[in-house]
């Protein structure tokens, strides 16, 4: 049964797709103007499937300003947009904005959150989203978790789930997640890959050099992925739904039991030495080999650690929920949710094709 008020959240990271990989590789640029366009297309779709209210994360980088201007302009004929509200945070243009905004959206009862960003943005949203399912659209650099989909379709499926027209059981699946603890305290998580490196500093965040990569943990590994998880994906592909992950000890090429040529960043295909490959089962706590270095979460250096720190990695099955976009639209079609007039019988084709 449909809910009385259907709310959807939208988190668009204005900074996604602008990091150093534009300099050291040929990573694509994602202008804010296009992110605005994607949001307006999603709003059209959300209105079309009966969503009443949309909560958007405000920013100080210009996206909010552009959305406000779009809201003031006359709507295209026949379109009805939901009420749009910016959640009440003071944007500092840092990762904390995303965490704060998502918490408020969850408190306000959104039924789904559309995320525009890369793996890093989705990681942040996942930390605060709880049980609310994500519709993840790629606008970042390493895009394994989110998919490259049309924002209109993302708006439709988010609206269908938030309004209860397609049930969560039909539309959603739960992701695995890699958890990182430092000195016994949970510190952060990764949705796709977690990698340790002897680099001393977080620096410009992205990790794009193969030399020195020490250990790689993946919650899933697709052979056609971009980023560090591709190393695992080309050794042993593991699906998002498999009840385990993978853990690779890496090493210099001359000591490697096998050398994998992997696309570790857009435009960067390098040889990586693999020493051992181990199945990572949920709950197992794996200490890092390195005594000092950084941990990259979903391709971005996030945590510096010193010899005094005990750093543990584990796989858990209680990650964020995602909306399966294709599955949701199939279910909607099967239920006839988009059939406006007439029956659903389809005549057999006749004559020459």
């Amino acid at each position: 049964m449909a809910r009385s008020v259907a709310r959807v959240g939208i988190v668009a990271n204005p900074a996604a797709g602008r990091d150093i990989r534009r300099l050291v590789a040929q990573a694509s640029v994602f202008p804010i103007a296009e992110k605005r366009n994607m949001i307006t297309r999603a709003l059209s779709a959300l209105g079309a499937v009966g969503v009443n209210e949309v909560l958007i994360m405000p920013d100080g980088a210009g996206l909010t300003h552009r959305i406000v201007r779009a809201l003031r302009a006359p709507l295209p004929e026949g379109q009805v947009w939901p009420e749009v509200r910016f959640v009440d945070i003071e944007p500092g243009d840092t990762a904390a904005d995303t965490l704060d905004a998502v918490r408020l959206m969850v408190d306000d009862g959104v039924g789904a959150i559309i995320v525009l960003g890369g793996d890093g943005t989705n990681r942040l949203v996942a930390r605060a989203a709880g049980e609310v399912p994500l519709v993840s659209l790629s606008t970042g650099t390493n895009n394994v978790f989110p998919s490259v989909r049309e924002a209109t379709i993302a708006g439709l499926v988010a609206g269908l789930v938030a309004s209860g027209k397609v049930t969560r059981a039909e539309a959603c699946f739960r992701n695995k997640v890699l958890r990182l603890s430092v000195n016994g305290v949970p510190r952060d998580l990764a949705l796709v890959d977690l990698c340790s490196s002897p680099e001393l500093f977080i620096g410009s965040r992205a990790l794009w050099r193969a030399d020195g990569l020490d250990q790689l943990f993946v919650s899933f590994a697709e052979a056609d992925a971009i980023g560090l998880s591709s190393i695992a994906g080309l050794v042993r592909p593991i699906s998002r739904r498999a009840p385990f992950g993978l853990w690779l000890d890496l090493c210099p090429l001359e000591r490697a039991s096998r050398v994998i040529r992997a696309p570790i960043a857009p435009g960067i295909i390098v040889d990586v030495g693999v020493e051992t490959v181990t199945t990572l089962t949920p709950g197992a706590q794996v200490p890092l080999r390195l005594k000092r270095g950084v941990v990259a979460l979903d391709g971005e250096r996030e945590v510096e650690f010193a010899p005094t720190d005990q750093v543990l990695v584990s796989l858990a099955e209680d990650g964020p929920f995602s909306v399966d976009i294709e599955r949701t639209m199939i279910v909607a079609a099967q239920h006839g949710l988009f059939v406006r007039t007439g029956g659903s019988e389809i005549s057999a084709a006749s004559g020459a094709a």
């Binding site: 602008r18 300099l23 640029v29 202008p31 410009s204």
Partner: protein, 322 residues
């Protein structure tokens, strides 16, 4: 990105020197002894240091009206800089340039610049020279968010790209062009959006984080030295003082600067990181603090006591014979 203890201490000394230089000028300017205008760089130190730590004698930089930080980071003598700002004969330009025209060609510092957007054309020349002479040098223009809207900058970006010059265009976006918010006066939402129009890579970095700037700068400089051409780097940053000393800053929030100093001070963040990682002892950095304070104090004392240029100096340095 690996930095030795010596590198870390060098970077810290560079940033601390800039900070104390500016903090002291803020105090001294209020006494009325300093002629002309000063535009302080305090808060932005990690940008100058992050780039200039990679440079050597082959390299050239061009600065802005807010040029003290870049000058110190490129190796200009602090005593001579202070004397210049006080308008004394011992100054880097004989006391006739002042804050906005500090230059030291021997150090590769092509000058602070009173013309907004004046630096980018200069580095195209320096970049072309480096390319033709095959020195391996790079040229960097530090430009503000206001300067980046100037036509001179647009022409220079185009020229550097067409000639594939070893140039870096560094937008130090501190949020205000004088008193006008960049959110109001910049057509794009992010300066990096402009890079693709000039067929060059553009990235943004957090200017409060020395390590983020240092790494991005290193990659852009490596690319330029190896013939890869120019880059655009936006450094998102904040200044602690007004556009100029005496600016009432009515355009800023009441606690804006206080909050910045408490949460985003690049020196505080640097110390926290290197001490936390047990890479440099607090005692080593405290020693730098003491030495820097003594240096700045001495430079002010000497500048105050130094003689002014004479009437005869008026007619020197006016024309250059090639």
């Amino acid at each position: 990105m690996q930095l030795s203890k010596a590198d870390l201490l060098k970077a810290y000394r560079m940033m601390k020197t800039i900070r104390e230089f500016e903090e002291r000028l803020h105090v001294e300017f209020a006494t009325g002894e300093i002629p002309g205008f000063v535009h302080l760089y305090a808060g932005e130190e990690a940008s100058a240091a992050g780039f200039c730590m990679h440079l050597d004698g082959r390299d050239r930089i061009a600065s802005t009206h807010r040029g003290h930080g870049h000058s110190i980071a490129k190796g200009c003598d602090v005593h001579a800089m202070m004397a210049e700002i006080y308008g004394k004969k011992a100054g880097l330009c004989g006391g006739k340039g002042g804050s906005m025209h500090i230059a030291d060609l021997d150090k590769g510092m092509l000058g602070a610049n009173g013309i907004v957007g004046g630096g980018p054309p200069l580095i195209c020349g320096a970049g072309l020279a480096a390319k033709m002479l095959k020195t391996g040098g790079v040229a960097i223009a530090f430009v503000g968010d206001g300067g980046f809207n100037q036509g001179t900058t647009a022409e220079s970006l185009n020229l550097a790209s067409v000639w594939r010059l070893p140039c870096l265009f560094v937008v130090e976006n501190n949020g205000y062009a004088e008193s006008t918010s960049s959110k109001w006066a910049v057509s794009c939402d992010d300066f990096t959006d402009r890079a693709s129009a000039y067929n060059m890579p553009g990235i943004s970095v957090d200017g409060h984080d020395f390590f983020a700037v240092y790494e991005a700068a290193g990659e852009a400089i490596k690319r330029a030295r190896s013939g890869g051409g120019p880059s655009l780097i936006e450094v998102k940053i904040n200044r602690y003082y007004g556009h100029f000393e005496g600016d009432a800053q009515t355009y800023r929030g009441p606690d804006e600067v206080k909050k910045l100093r408490e949460t985003k001070d690049c020196l505080m963040l640097f110390r926290k990181r290197v001490e936390g990682a047990t890479l440099v002892d607090a005692a080593d950095m405290n020693k730098v603090d003491t030495e820097v304070l003594a240096l700045i104090d001495d430079s002010v004392k000497k500048a105050k006591a130094a003689p002014k240029p004479t009437a005869a100096d008026l007619l020197t340095d006016v024309y250059v014979s090639y």
